[in-house]
């Protein structure tokens, strides 16, 4: 049957026309027609036109009189058997061939879509006017969680001699942050915040609270936040947003890391056990200097960089924002490395590297570009 269905489409009468208005139908649904019969009149910016059927059969109208239809969209079906028009198959067929109708479907930003999937929020159920944003999803989740979340937050306790800290990110990195903070004497980690499905559970003995409840945690008196997020861009974004929520974002420095007195570390950074950062080196916001990474003197490391375990930097080096130096890779003295660069594990960089490069090998060569 399907192969005998004939589609009538709106003709393109002028190169400038995107839509055509169906002004009048001259046939009724299921009416028998002969080849050459006029089905309807349409009007564009420049002309009006009678749409004819080149086949005989029975007609089904797909647009209402007065409706504006995209040029080349289907406006009617002609079939040899009128009974087919009432079949299940016909309904499916029509649906498959009509342009997708997005009206009434909620529009959302990409971030809102990702978060709604993570948190299991149905966007259609949100009462948001306009395009749904991440903050709207967060608010909806917060509203849903409030009773349990409130209980969890209310139960947070800490030693009054120490400063309470929430750790954003309850993954494995978050657990290292917890241990790191506990091994010093200043801070006491009291909970994790996490945007994933861990909310309400316990990780490494601490409660996990949804990231959506960050403001409530701040209000409870947990004024400090430690970031344990692997993705540099998310880390930087959270760093900026969390300050607005009333948090102080701490830098985490393991007591067994060496930090020269003249070195400086930006907010939200994490200096892990065994790392060495020598004289006059500046580390930007939200960097991760991993176990055993050696950073000699007078280096400048941009925000959001990650020096993986055992990475070695000579002196007088500049590294741009969000660059990753892989495990055991080295960068020679006085080299400048751009932003968003990835230096592969074990590579040895001896020349300047442009922005957004992928570097591999000994000596390091640019082998590709990062997406940025």
């Amino acid at each position: 049957m399907r192969e005998q269905v004939h589609l009538i489409r709106v003709p393109r009468l002028g190169v400038n026309d995107e839509v055509t208005t169906v002004t009048e139908w001259h046939v009724a649904d299921r009416q028998a027609i002969r080849p050459g019969d006029v089905l309807c009149s349409v009007e564009t910016a420049k002309a009006s036109y009678d749409v004819e059927s080149d086949l005989g059969g029975y007609v089904l109208r797909l647009a209402a009189a007065g409706e504006a239809v995209a040029v080349t969209a289907p406006i009617a079906l002609v079939v040899p058997d009128p009974a087919w028009l009432d079949s299940e198959e016909a309904r499916g067929w029509v649906q498959d061939h009509m342009p997708a109708d997005d009206r009434g479907k909620p529009q959302a930003t990409h971030r809102a879509l990702v978060l709604s999937e993570q948190l299991g929020i149905d966007l259609a159920a949100l009462s948001v006017e306009g395009i749904i944003r991440e903050a709207d999803v967060r608010r909806a989740y917060e509203a849903r969680l409030r009773p349990a979340g409130d209980g969890l937050i209310g139960a947070l306790t800490w030693d009054p001699a120490r400063l309470p800290v929430a750790i954003y990110g309850a993954g494995r990195g978050g657990v290292t942050v917890k241990e790191c903070l506990e091994s010093g004497g200043t801070y006491q980690p009291v909970c994790f915040l996490d945007d994933g499905s861990l909310g309400g559970s316990t990780v490494a003995g601490l409660p996990v609270i949804s990231g959506a409840l960050i403001a409530a945690v701040a209000k409870r008196g947990v004024g400090a936040l430690a970031l344990a997020i692997a993705d540099a861009r998310i880390r930087l974004r959270l760093y900026r947003e969390a300050e607005k929520e009333g948090f102080h974002i701490i830098s985490i420095i393991h007591p067994r890391a060496y930090l020269a007195p003249s070195a400086s570390i930006g907010g939200g950074s994490y200096i892990k056990a065994g790392a060495v950062i020598d004289t006059n080196t500046l580390v930007g916001d939200c960097c991760i200097i991993d176990n055993g990474a050696m950073v000699a003197h007078d280096n400048v490391i941009g925000e959001g960089c990650h020096l993986a375990p055992g990475a070695v930097l000579g002196s007088g080096i500049t590294i741009g924002p969000r660059t990753v130096v892989g495990i055991g890779a080295s960068v020679s003295t006085k080299v400048t490395v751009g932003r968003d660069v990835i230096i592969a594990p074990g590579a040895s960089v001896v020349t300047d590297i442009p922005d957004a490069s992928v570097v591999e090998g000994v000596p390091g060569r640019v082998v590709g570009r990062t997406r940025s």
Partner: protein, 340 residues
């Protein structure tokens, strides 16, 4: 209602209401009704006041200047805006100067309508936005409605309320577009219409936002055919990056409506100006200078200009797209301004 219908109805209305209004141009008689059908039906309704002419833009314009000086309200239709070069002497050395030269003893209430813009594959001499050649001509007002304005109302005001010379720029790609008509809550097509700055003024500026809140990260400014580009770019920036753009659509091109744009520029602290004409010495160039005069030090980024490349417009549609500004150009520029 479509853009072209709005203009056509306005001409019918103005000619019905005021016997001083004449329409003069090439091929404006029915049944052809002008190259873009803006004049459709006028010669049938007002046969003695719709004059079809030989092919000489200089003659048409000069003739209309004479009508205007003698108290009529002529409207000149230039078939393609590109042909305005042929009317340059009449407009620059005559129409706009007489009021001063004759010590206010004459007025020249003249409207010259011209369709501008590319993306139709009409080639190098029928696709340009040449209005920029007329920027900085003293005494010349340039108006360009977008599909968010009421083009017919603006045309009516230019014909009946303005005693000076007005270049009325119509958008070739806008003619078939359905006009955006905000509902009772000032919403249309996902946007909130935030304000008409100086709405009581003859040629208002429209400000659009995609959120109920007023905050904005960037102000996107455009007129005429570039309006749909900034509108689409604003949607993409919100959906893909959660960057909040405020869309600012002046209908007055020249004199530069700086006071309408300044509040958005100061609020967002970043401004992008988009025009389909060439970027060099364009609308955005002057606007950037004027905004800098008043907002220097208060912006987070220099005003960014996006326009056509400085070369002839090719006939091939794909090449045309490479040369004229695109939504992608705007999105990319804003991301770069925001460090993303």
């Amino acid at each position: 209602m479509r853009y072209v219908e709005s203009l056509n109805r306005a001409l019918h209305g103005v000619m019905r209401d005021d016997l001083r209004v004449y329409l003069i141009g090439e091929d404006v008689l029915d049944p052809y009704g002008g190259a873009f059908k803006v004049a459709r039906g006028l010669s049938t309704a007002f046969p003695e006041r719709v004059l079809t002419t030989p092919i000489s833009e200089a003659a048409i314009t000069g003739f209309a200047i004479g009508l205007a000086m003698r108290g009529l309200r002529p409207v000149v239709e230039i078939m393609f805006g590109d042909f305005l070069t042929l009317a340059a002497d009449q407009l620059i050395n005559h129409a706009t100067k007489f009021r001063w030269m004759y010590n206010e003893q004459v007025a020249v209430p003249l409207v010259v309508r011209a369709p501008m813009g590319g993306r139709r594959g009409y080639g190098p001499t029928h696709s340009q936005c040449l209005e920029k050649l007329y920027f900085g001509v003293p005494g010349l007002t340039i108006v360009a409605p977008s599909d968010w304005h009421d083009p017919g109302l603006l045309l009516r005001r230019a014909i009946l309320e303005d005693a000076g010379v007005t270049l009325f720029i119509e958008g070739k790609t806008l003619y078939p577009q359905t006009l955006k008509e905000p509902d009772s809550r000032s919403r249309a097509d996902d946007f909130w219409v935030r304000s008409f700055e100086h709405a009581d003024r003859r040629f208002p500026t429209l400000v659009l936002g995609l959120t109920a809140e007023q905050r904005a990260d960037v102000a996107l400014v455009a007129y005429g055919v570039s309006a749909p580009l900034v509108v689409e770019a604003a949607k993409r920036l919100l959906i893909e990056d959660e960057i909040l753009a405020e869309v600012v659509l002046p209908s007055l091109v020249v004199p530069w409506p700086v006071e309408d744009l300044l509040p958005s520029a100061l609020k967002a602290q970043r401004m992008v100006v988009v025009e389909e004409g060439g970027r060099t010495a364009g609308w955005g160039a002057e606007l950037a200078a004027l905004i800098s005069d008043q907002a220097f030090g208060k912006l987070l980024h220099p005003v960014v200009r996006i326009g056509a490349l400085d070369c002839p417009i090719p006939s091939a549609r794909s090449l045309e797209d490479d040369i004229l500004p695109s939504v992608e150009d705007i999105v990319r520029a804003v991301r770069a301004m925001m460090g993303r």
